[in-house]
């Protein structure tokens, strides 16, 4: 891939890729590694994309797959305890939200992030993640319910 185009994609999508990876692995260092790997694949990919949306969707798919591989890899199971990264929180409520989000299963976290922060629709997510729309809906619904439950207050969204 052309260097200038690659840098442009990096500027546009690095945060998204990083946050998806973080959603899965819950650790800054591993998320950084996964981000780098996803972009290496983009850089070394021969095929040209038809638009930025396609690049983003492709990167998200690759990142999800890399993150799942990471969680399933032999290395991760050898670790005594996966170090959790601390996110600076301004107040107790933010801290509670952080802990509540961290306690969700990784695939819930990723879907919640992609839907609520990246604005992807249920159908788009289903296509992108290779699953059914009803499954995405179920993850969102259960994720919301768990967050409410853990936050101890009815309205957080």
């Amino acid at each position: 891939m052309d260097n200038a185009k690659f840098t442009k994609h990096m500027q546009a999508f690095q945060k998204t890729v990083y946050r998806i990876a973080y959603s899965y692995v819950g650790n800054f260092e591993d998320a950084e590694d996964i981000t780098q790997e996803a972009f290496i694949r983009l850089y070394t990919r021969d095929d040209d994309f038809k638009g930025d949306d396609n690049v983003k969707a492709w990167l998200i798919r690759v990142t999800v797959n890399l993150s799942k591989s990471h969680l399933r890899s032999a290395w991760i199971h050898r670790r005594e305890n996966m170090p959790k990264s601390e996110i600076p929180c301004d107040n107790e409520r933010e801290q509670a939200l952080h802990e509540a989000i961290s306690s969700l299963p990784p695939n819930y976290r990723a879907v919640i992030y992609l839907h609520y922060c990246e604005g992807y629709k249920v159908e788009e997510l289903a296509k992108m993640l290779g699953t059914s729309a009803s499954n995405i809906k179920a993850r969102l619904s259960r994720g919301r319910a768990k967050l409410k439950d853990l936050m101890g207050e009815p309205e957080i969204m």
Partner: protein
């Protein structure tokens, strides 16, 4: 919604986009230059002598693999035994393998299920496609990432598992509990609570197709090998069968794989006791030659959130990861790492499913002092005799097993 967005807005990579971009470009340029240099060097060696070993380490690895697969192929009637190499070539594992399971073709490609090993809870299978004509060859090339990985690994640059290829082609290679694939979503919508169907989906999602270098290395321009696995929280009550969905050039087809087997298995009760302040109690364990499932219960439902120092009532299902560092303790004193996955616990939900946990170990590993290669399946699993297990250790606490 804003709170969630604000939360994620705080999560930024340490490396700036420009810096990471420059690093990757430089890294790839270096690798390309190095590769070119190797190629030039190899060509030079070729001209000088036909008997020199150009890459001794790789040559040795290739020989060992070739020997393994040659022996296996002759022993199993043409089917390469990949799975037994996962178990370090264990003759016990080899004896338990079902081989040459299934064959299908559509004029362009053929599809074969080569090997299956299963204890009913964990099933591993290898399959392969063979191109029968140019159209089939073209279709196989949709698995481009696998093919390119093969070359990367040959260059010695591969350092991790190959991710699943679900995104590479239309239709996916999927091993799922019998009858669950098509209408599962509806079942989920019909059942809001944890239930029999839900765990199928939960786990099915996290346990699909995995490809590793040992599979990639067997692939050629006209063949592609895949490793498929599925792990269940409960034995399939629908008749010990799994559905295998496999894409062909024009459609996706389905076949059933039997998980009936003679693999030795025991169900043992764990001597009831509580470890200090821990809020879980393991109660029983299923141990087979290839996998185990640990069942237990939670003792309370209050958790102190460390950041705010406040006690809150939570559903403990979220905290099974606290049951860390679990081992099987063997008669000879050795310990095998219980490589565990949290399982949905609907099948024990006679009362409150949130009060229980179910942990599955889909493989046993000698963990301490052993280097487990993430790029190869070889020697990754250990085939055991369940009679050799005398106890389990969770964190630092030993639990005695009692025959159920």
């Amino acid at each position: 919604m804003n709170e969630i967005k604000n939360f994620y807005d705080k999560i930024d990579p340490k490396t700036s986009p420009e810096e990471m971009s420059a690093r990757i470009i430089a890294m790839c340029a270096d690798k390309a230059a190095e590769k070119q240099s190797h190629e030039n060097h190899d060509n030079h060696d070729n001209h000088e002598s036909h008997v020199s070993f150009r890459k001794p380490a790789l040559a040795l690895v290739a020989t060992v693999c070739a020997a393994t697969f040659t022996v296996s192929a002759s022993a199993s009637g043409g089917v390469s035994v990949i799975i037994s190499s996962m178990f370090g070539g264990s003759s016990h594992a080899y004896d338990m393998l079902e081989t040459a399971i299934f064959h299908d073709e559509d004029g362009n490609v053929s599809f074969d299920v080569d090997e299956v090993i299963s204890d009913g809870m964990c099933t591993y299978a290898t399959v392969h496609y063979t191109a029968l004509n140019d159209e089939g060859k073209k279709w196989l090339n949709t698995y481009d990432i696998l093919y390119s990985y093969k070359h990367i690994i040959k260059e010695g640059e591969g350092s991790e598992e190959i991710p699943n290829l679900g995104y590479c082609f239309e239709g996916s290679l999927t091993l799922a509990p019998y009858g669950s694939h098509d209408d599962f979503s509806n079942w989920m919508l019909d059942n809001g609570n944890l239930n029999y169907h839900e765990w199928i989906k939960c786990h099915y999602e996290g346990s699909v197709y995995y490809l590793r270098s040992s599979i990639a290395n067997k692939s050629t321009e006209t063949e592609r090998y895949f490793y498929v696995s599925v792990e269940l929280a409960k034995k399939d009550s629908a008749g010990n069968e799994l559905d295998l969905y496999y894409p062909m050039t024009n459609d996706t087809r389905i076949t059933q794989i039997s998980t009936q087997n003679d693999i030795k298995e025991k169900l043992l009760v764990i001597k009831p006791e509580r470890d200090g302040e821990k809020y879980y109690i393991p109660t029983s364990i299923r141990i087979s030659a290839i996998s185990a499932t640990l069942y237990g219960s939670f003792t309370d439902r209050i958790y102190t959130f460390q950041g705010i120092g406040r006690k809150m009532r939570v559903k403990p299902e979220e905290y099974t990861h606290f049951v860390n560092n679990t081992y099987l303790v063997m008669k000879d004193g050795s310990k095998l790492y219980f490589s565990r996955y949290d399982m949905p616990r609907g099948e024990v939900a006679n009362d409150n499913p949130y009060s229980r946990f179910v942990l599955l170990s889909s493989r046993y590993q000698k963990r301490v002092g052993e280097d487990i290669s993430p790029t190869s399946m070889e020697n990754e699993h250990i085939f055991i005799d369940p009679d050799d297990v005398i106890g389990i250790q969770i964190e630092d606490h030993y639990y005695e097993l009692i025959d159920g």
